[in-house]
Symmetry: C2
Subunit: 299 residues, 2 copies
């Protein structure tokens, strides 16, 4: 595959109540020199302006689950975000032969995930970007969630060479926090610098492997027979994203104060712990596996 | 005025995305003995079920601004929350001669306001409740926002003897946090115990005065000519609710990173610093005045 990158898109507000990306896109629209690099063109997109207008994650569907190739082609899917996904496919794609080479999508979370670098492929381009940013921002965490590009339903999968998510928290929905804004800004600068180095043959010196986490599954909050949630994240687990959860450790606590322990038989790691956006599906957290991530050698 | 209290209402979910009160009301509905006291009846209400259903603060208007007597009587006000306010007036009021004597309304904030006890009258009933809870929970802060009951637009003003707001943060909208849930639960227990003591002539031994804060005014975020916000809360001010802001101290920081200082000529104190719910009006924080609150002697 031709690895030369000509067009990079930065997308913000894919979730309309995650204002950090929205305001970075606005800021860079007025200050384009910050995202300009010599070897490629950078374009900026407010991904879901309708949802942003009403400061909601989405109007009808989560936009960042609408980019599977079959869904993009399915003309019966006409919800607000299903239509917006088709519009973005026309602007950035089309998915099977995209105009845009690489998409950097900006997100925030109510979970205490710090600077999380999320990528859906073990391609050296993405893994190298993650390693490069983590070299510059050692507090960052690598979050690997493998998915085949055409099947993948994330916005980033519209990019010819796929893309990269920058997910920062904790921050409430619907507001700005300067530290989160500034850290996201810094991570994007490193991501663009990395693409510039790769593009111009100055591939930076990176380790062969780094530690990270691989997504395993989503864990539901306890519910009663009426389908109402009956428990919340246990206080011992709150804010402990990427820390070990051992068999028997407290996982949830009921509205009445009873602890519900983790009943698995091997240790896991939590992420997206108490993410507000997942309450609609009664998801309490994600389980992750701790892994070593390899940077495959190219060529 | 007859101070005997026969009916107490606890209201949650007045803002539909503040889930703490919603789930406490659900919990107490199934465990009514926790809110039962011998000398009065306690009733529980989910104040804005429509907004809670979609996990938004409100559908059409902020419900907690709809209880001014003129608005309640104005039949041309037919938005979702304007109608809901009239329904609550029928259930709890009517405002000019209410059935319910006292209303405890449960709120949360994205600001770092800890346990804030908000009351709109200097009546010894409310001031005594605030002092009583602060004796039990010394970390609590007294927040005085005076308003005449019939003019007041808060839900609590429907109570014959007015009411009391319990406002806890920081917590993102749309989720539960056990510490916030548990602290709110504890504060309500103290509030009910206090009413029970008052009602049965066992008025507790309380100080003559305690320190607190009085609301002064709301401060807008900087905007450009298009009406977009151009700055956010300065990182030095974030989470510093109830701390002193002196002339020249950083207040905001622009999207480009420039600090905007406080230009007033006397020190103030901040509250509701970076409250997500106030972004729709471009409100960045409230200014407060530090005061001594007197407990007037009765009779």
């Amino acid at each position: 595959m031709n690895e030369q990158i000509k067009n990079v898109a930065i997308t913000g507000g894919t979730h309309g109540n995650e204002l950090t990306g929205v305001h970075l896109v606005k800021h860079w629209s007025e200050n384009p020199q910050e995202v300009k690099r010599d070897s490629f063109a950078t374009e900026l997109h407010l991904a879901n302006p309708e949802a942003n207008q009403v400061v909601r994650r989405y109007i009808d569907q989560d936009l960042n689950r609408q980019f599977n190739i079959d869904d993009l082609k399915n003309q019966s899917l006409q919800g607000c975000e299903q239509q917006r996904a088709k519009a973005l496919d026309a602007i950035l794609g089309p998915k099977e032969n995209p105009r845009v080479d690489f998409i950097i999508d900006l997100h925030t979370t109510t979970a205490n995930m710090g600077m999380s670098l999320i990528f859906n492929t073990d391609d050296p381009l993405q893994v190298g970007m993650a390693f490069y940013i983590k070299q510059k921002m050692p507090e960052a965490t690598l979050f690997f969630n493998p998915s085949e590009r055409l099947e993948d339903n994330f916005l980033t999968s519209l990019g010819r060479l796929n893309g990269f998510l920058i997910e920062v928290g904790p921050i409430a929905q619907g507001l700005l926090n300067y530290q989160v804004y500034s850290d996201t800004h810094t991570a994007v600068m490193h991501a663009l610098d990395y693409l510039e180095l790769k593009n111009t043959g100055q591939t930076p010196d990176l380790p062969m492997q780094m530690g990270g986490y691989r997504f395993t599954k989503k864990i539901r909050l306890p519910e009663n027979e009426e389908g109402d949630i009956t428990a919340m994240i246990h206080p011992n687990l709150q804010n402990k994203d990427y820390e070990e959860i051992r068999p028997g450790d407290p996982l949830f606590i009921t509205l009445g104060g009873e602890t519900i322990p983790y009943q698995g038989d091997k240790a896991v790691y939590g992420a997206f712990i108490n993410e507000a956006a997942y309450y609609d599906q009664h998801i309490g957290l994600s389980f992750m596996e701790k892994i070593n991530i390899e940077l495959k050698q190219e060529g």
